[in-house]
């Protein structure tokens, strides 16, 4: 779960990391009022969950009321890389002499958290990591001890941060690690961490991704989740049903169990000349209602022309799956889109006895099921 910038900044500021004065606004007058209160110049920043907002026109500087109004009008309501902008953060524009990067993430290869510092802040840090990996100092942290202050200092000095701000940057990094640790962060980043001519450091942006699996013990952050949701109606519905779901651009709907098998089903749809409409993993051990919900999800997508169900039961049982499919389809006088079912694994024979074959097309193998679903989708398009 990714927090919005304004949410992450609140979390960082509460922990003592310096952030610019800012206010959230959702209409033009609100932006102007906020700017007057903060004092010009201000930055007006779209609050959507995508990177590269500046380049895409989602961040604008305003020196006076006219410019603030203009910025607000162009950003509010805009479509930014597929996301509708409903809110902007109006923020004190910081006069800086340097931009740094600091971040904490989990290094999955090492199985340990890693703290990162770079003097090449303010740009796409992934590109820096790719082209000039030496420009990012890295310090692995033992998660059972946490980050020692010397480790923060070491990363800061290794990165070549100027001595005049090294203490303050170390302190920001230490706080960032503590937050990451306490809040079950997946990533916590400040890019840029601006350095002013008075040798102050200030977090001009804030990124905080929370480990979804840990939300059960982060009730305050879980509350922010609704506000932070992506804005895509189908993806919101998937959140309600608690599915791993990704909407794609094709017309063959895909439901399966287990991420690897669902991805494989997508790949096979592509292999046989079709285009996947979505990734939907019902997860392990899905009961009948969950299966019915999955069908409801995929039927709700207007782009879907056919659906392929690929279940290979381990912890999931074929009889439950069949019951769910029947439940979902028996409510229709006419099935809205053809459904191809392939059941294998635990209790698949029981499932095949239960499954109402008048409502679906049954195939024995994954390959046949996918090809049939692609054919159906092609017929609809033709």
């Amino acid at each position: 779960m990714k927090l919005h910038e304004y949410q992450a900044k609140d979390v960082f500021a509460d922990a003592g990391i310096p952030t610019p004065a800012s206010q959230l606004a959702s209409d033009v007058d609100g932006v102007v009022a906020a700017a007057e209160e903060i004092g010009y110049p201000v930055a007006v920043k779209a609050q959507v969950q995508v990177g590269g907002r500046g380049k895409a026109g989602g961040i604008k500087l305003a020196e006076d009321e006219d410019e603030a109004r203009e910025a607000a009008e162009s950003i509010l309501g805009m479509d930014l890389k597929g996301y509708h902008v409903d809110q902007v953060l109006v923020e004190e524009a910081v006069d800086f002499v340097n931009e740094l990067y600091v971040g904490i993430t989990m290094d999955r290869g090492e199985g340990k958290p890693v703290a990162m510092v770079s003097t090449k802040g303010g740009v796409n840090i992934e590109e820096v990591a790719e082209e000039d990996p030496e420009a990012i100092a890295r310090e692995h942290i033992d998660p059972s001890f946490g980050m020692h202050p010397y480790q923060a200092r070491k990363a800061v000095y290794d990165a070549g941060v100027d001595q005049s701000v090294a203490r303050d940057v170390s302190s920001v990094l230490t706080t960032l690690y503590q937050l990451w640790d306490e809040k079950d962060g997946a990533d916590a980043e400040i890019n840029p961490l601006m350095v002013t001519s008075d040798d102050e450091v200030i977090a001009a942006d804030a990124v905080m991704n929370i480990d979804e699996d840990a939300l059960f013990r982060q009730p305050e952050l879980a509350e922010m989740e609704e506000e932070a949701s992506s804005g895509d109606e189908l993806e919101q519905k998937a959140d309600e049903y608690d599915f791993d779901y990704v909407r794609l651009s094709g017309n063959v709907g895909i439901i399966g169990n287990g991420a690897g098998l669902v991805m494989t089903t997508l790949d096979l749809v592509d292999h046989y000349g079709g285009e996947p409409a979505n990734f939907l993993d019902v997860g392990g051990g899905a009961k009948a209602q969950r299966i019915a919900n999955a069908l409801d999800m995929v039927f709700s997508d207007d782009n879907v022309d056919s659906v392929v169900f690929n279940i290979f039961g381990g912890i999931t049982r074929g009889d439950e799956v069949a019951r769910g499919i029947n439940e979902a389809l028996e409510q229709f006088d006419e099935i809205p889109k053809p459904v191809v079912v392939r059941l294998a694994g635990t209790n698949w024979e029981e499932g095949m006895e239960i499954l109402n074959e008048d409502l679906v097309t049954v195939e024995q193998t994954l390959e046949d099921a996918v090809q049939r679903a692609v054919e159906y989708a092609d017929e609809v398009e033709a």
């Binding site: 989990m106 840990a214 991420a259 690897g260 694994g345």
Partner: protein
């Protein structure tokens, strides 16, 4: 010979009184696995499916000589359950639980490096040596005894590939689902080493997916150390960059590594053919065994 597990393995099931724990303890026993105890705090003294339940893993080890644990404990408590398994010096702990917070697993990972216990998982289907024992939730009926070692990050994809192999008469020596989480115990390299040293295993299937660099590391290891022929499969070729596809690990960073292409080409460079479909993987294995 078998890899990691055989019919002498003495299993304690952590979380045996829960729905999944109970169902799969029974399934494991029906398959022939020697389940000797359960461990559930507060449930000591009960019996489940004829198996005595203890409050702690320590007791299960003392009373029943358990040497292996299979963990069906809910995610909030699973990290602690793995610590408990590690604290009793078991030979092997298999964590089935999905959704354990990553930071808990980072702490487990640290502790793991200080013990001799091998961990498989979490978020995995477990492992099976057909005809001997299965530890976890794999559907036993699709497996058959044979010479193919299989290691996979995805449970259901494992079943798919096994089904393709079994249907064509190619049985398995051992199949290991290592799990799809960012931090896992046994990884591809560990499993490949086990198969390379197992005289029964004559060919290996390695199923990977987008995200992380484990497959690239495995390819380098195969190039250097593995003589047994390996065929691969990589799921997620059509996954859009930047989207999380179910598994926490399955995110393409867009920085060149971790993509299906980078994994496939690393494997190809190491002499490993990668199938476009699970059926093609079976084709490659058939050629190896011919």
């Amino acid at each position: 010979m078998s890899v990691l597990v055989d019919d002498d393995t003495r299993v304690v099931v952590q979380g045996i009184t829960g729905g999944e724990g109970k169902f799969h303890a029974k399934q494991m026993m029906e398959y022939g696995t020697n389940v000797v105890a359960g461990a559930v705090p507060g449930k000591g003294g009960q019996e489940v499916e004829g198996v005595p339940v203890y409050d702690t893993v320590h007791e299960a080890v003392e009373e029943e000589n358990a040497d292996t644990s299979v963990i069906f404990v809910p995610p909030a408590f699973a990290g602690d359950a793995i610590f408990e398994a590690l604290d009793t010096d078991l030979d092997l702990a298999v964590a089935i639980t999905e959704g354990i917070p990553t930071q808990d697993m980072a702490r487990v990972n640290k502790r793991l490096s200080e013990t001799d216990t091998r961990l498989i998982g979490p978020n995995c289907p477990g492992l099976i040596t057909p005809g001997e024992a299965k530890l976890g939730i794999l559907p036993g009926n699709i497996f058959s005894e044979g010479k193919v070692g299989l290691v996979s990050r995805s449970g259901t994809l494992t079943y798919q590939v096994v089904d393709n192999l079994t249907n064509r008469g190619m049985g398995q020596s051992t199949a290991i689902g290592i799990g799809g989480d960012p931090i896992i115990g046994t990884d591809f390299v560990d499993a490949l080493e086990l198969f390379e040293n197992d005289p029964e295993t004559e060919a290996i299937v390695m199923c990977g997916e987008i995200g992380g660099e484990d497959e690239e590391e495995a390819a380098a290891y195969i190039d250097e150390h593995v003589d047994t022929p390996v065929a691969g499969f990589i799921a997620g070729r059509t996954a859009p960059p930047g989207k999380r596809m179910g598994h926490a690990g399955a995110i393409v960073s867009g920085s060149g590594t971790g993509t299906a292409e980078s994994k496939i080409s690393a494997l190809n460079d190491a002499g490993v053919p990668v199938g476009d479909t699970p059926e093609e993987v079976a084709d490659h294995i058939e050629e190896f065994l011919a």
